[in-house]
Symmetry: C2
Subunit: 330 residues, 2 copies
DNA sequence: TCCAGCAACTTGAACGATCCAATCCTGCCT
DNA sequence: AGGCAGGATTGGATCGTTCAAGTTGCTGGA
């Protein structure tokens, strides 16, 4: 068991003062090169590592970023958060930050959790996922000038704060375009009820692509809660309409799976494209729109560190393009 | 913006000394009840929260637990870690601990990461997932007497350290038993190559159940790497054998999915039971053996806090029973 | 020759909690 | 009333780092 190596140990070993060691670490340019070298050698020789707690106490900064880990809801989208978290951790490490997890039963309690995390851990910032219209969490944080980045746009005020998002409309538009290019005209849409930012966005892309091809989307649209059973039911309904679709674009892989169930039951085959490129889609060969989660996570960290390290930068926004992953079921 | 509330603020407000406030927090029983009440009132009134960094510097304990978040390998098992992490975070919070994430490209670098995490963050302990025969990581930690718990048994030395695991053999045995009870005798096994602790364990449960029913398992066993394609190929091979199986038990949902693909292609239907109860299984109606991940995570935290709070407890082990989840494909 | 000006480094103090040892109180016994 | 035991409370030191305010030594202009 090695003795504790502190900044004083390094200072003695390099025959300088503690402060000079601190300067070598935090402001190398103000130290004479040969002294700097001597200190750096001592740091390596002794295996010195700055104690985060002591640094934090003095500076008030923890180099810790908090992310909420939500209970897996329907299970199917669980791996999305998983991949996002991994990317976040990896990029944060590269910038000298660490990721801390917290849970909250609902948005209300999440705000309570903020206070706790901030006062006891001096957290530097938050990454918030899944924001929706008029989110109380972002308002709370903004009011207190606590740095945060959201993964997901604030639909009401596009420039309110820094965020990273994936252009869902571009994704569904590309999926729809692919089907149109394959000769389809009546491309149906399995979506969520109007009113959610994400859902409306994905629907908009599909509409745009159809209108661009001169097809009236109105009879081909549906809106239902997310879920396999809902997808199956809505597909049955859609197939019974006056002009049934010859292909389907869906707002989620869950809905797409439901559609496939109905189609198989009816003995029909139609191209179906899902959204999120979940493992389920990969496993059964369902084409899907894939979100660049690793990229998104990296950009979240970038934006957050900008807010933290830079002196009061303006909020920035990043919109990433998803990719259409084609598999044999399309 | 509120003034910073320190232990001194509380002490002034309650007209006692800092030490008394500290005692109310850390050793309430030695403070006179009425004084204790006065201090607690002051804490609530002022919204005081102990500064973790200062406490950590004095005590050397961070109340932080580290967990590695791995890059999602084949994607299909991603949600397993996800659910485990959520359980971990939730239980840790209840015990006053927080979960910090870290990544490592391989086991070698993971050990390097330990040193970094320990010296800069004063981490209290680790939760290690996916241990295998002669894991270098547990050896490293044990040598330095750093508290850790593994999710997964050390197959070589069952009592070497504290661990939590799920009884895979019991799971496959139950699955096999279910099929036997339904009238099957030739129940095949899609497993991994011999040599991995987890894989051998799952195979053993299947063998035990077959032998118990008086069936010779030898011609019904297979071993292949994990994956959908591998599962499909192995199933074809198995169906071509002298006594083909009339039902299948698999070591993973990936293998089970492969099996289903082959069966569908061959126009046959056989009951298939997977392992892990991934979202994919739930989505397509595949029966599967479900690991109680929330429980497992909670027990991990319990064991770890035992090691941390208690004075040198002996290592403890917890073996949890998985549950067979029956769906229409069984 | 003197001292302003600067670069390079050193010293003392502070962050907020806990630990330690010394002191103060209280009630009880003689 | 005085002494004493024992628990409650107090002040001071401490953890490792950074900030603020020195100190030293050197250069160069008048």
């Amino acid at each position: 068991m090695a003795e504790k190596v502190t900044i004083a140990t390094v200072a003695r070993h390099a025959r300088v003062s503690r402060q000079t060691v601190s300067n070598v670490i935090n402001a190398p340019h103000i130290v004479r090169p040969e002294t700097r070298q001597r200190v750096q050698d001592a740091i390596v020789t002794l295996g010195y590592r700055a104690n985060q707690a002591a640094r934090q106490m003095r500076t008030g900064r923890s180099r810790l970023i908090a992310v909420r880990i939500e209970p897996t809801r329907d299970g199917i989208n669980g791996s999305v958060l998983d991949r996002f978290l991994h990317g976040l951790t990896e990029t944060a490490e590269a910038s000298g930050y660490r990721v801390m997890l917290y849970t909250a039963a609902d948005d209300e309690r999440e705000i309570t959790a903020y206070g706790d995390l901030l006062s006891t851990y001096d957290l530097d910032g938050f990454v918030i996922t899944g924001t929706d219209h008029g989110d109380p969490r972002t308002a709370w944080l903004a009011e207190r000038e606590i740095p945060f980045v959201t993964f997901g746009r604030p639909w009401d005020h596009p420039q309110a704060h820094s965020w990273v998002d994936v252009d869902g409309a571009a994704g569904t538009a590309e999926a729809t375009g692919h089907l149109i290019a394959a000769g389809h005209r009546h491309v149906g849409f399995l979506g969520w009820p109007a009113g959610s930012g994400v859902g409306d966005d994905r629907r908009a892309g599909w509409r745009r692509a159809l209108l661009g091809a001169g097809v009236d989307p109105d009879g081909l649209d549906t809106g239902t809660e997310d879920g396999i059973a809902e997808g199956a039911r809505t597909t049955r309904e859609l197939l019974g309409r006056a002009t049934p679709p010859t292909a389907l674009v869906c707002a989620s892989d869950s809905l797409a799976l439901g559609a496939l169930q109905t189609l198989r039951g009816a003995g029909t085959t139609l191209p179906v494209i899902g959204f999120d490129d979940t493992p389920v889609a990969a496993a059964i060969g369902l084409s899907s729109v894939s979100q660049p989660l690793g990229d998104a996570a990296a950009r979240c960290v970038d934006l957050l560190t900008d807010l933290l390290d830079g002196p009061h930068r303006d909020p920035r926004q990043v919109l990433l393009r998803p990719a259409l992953v084609l598999r044999h079921l399309a």
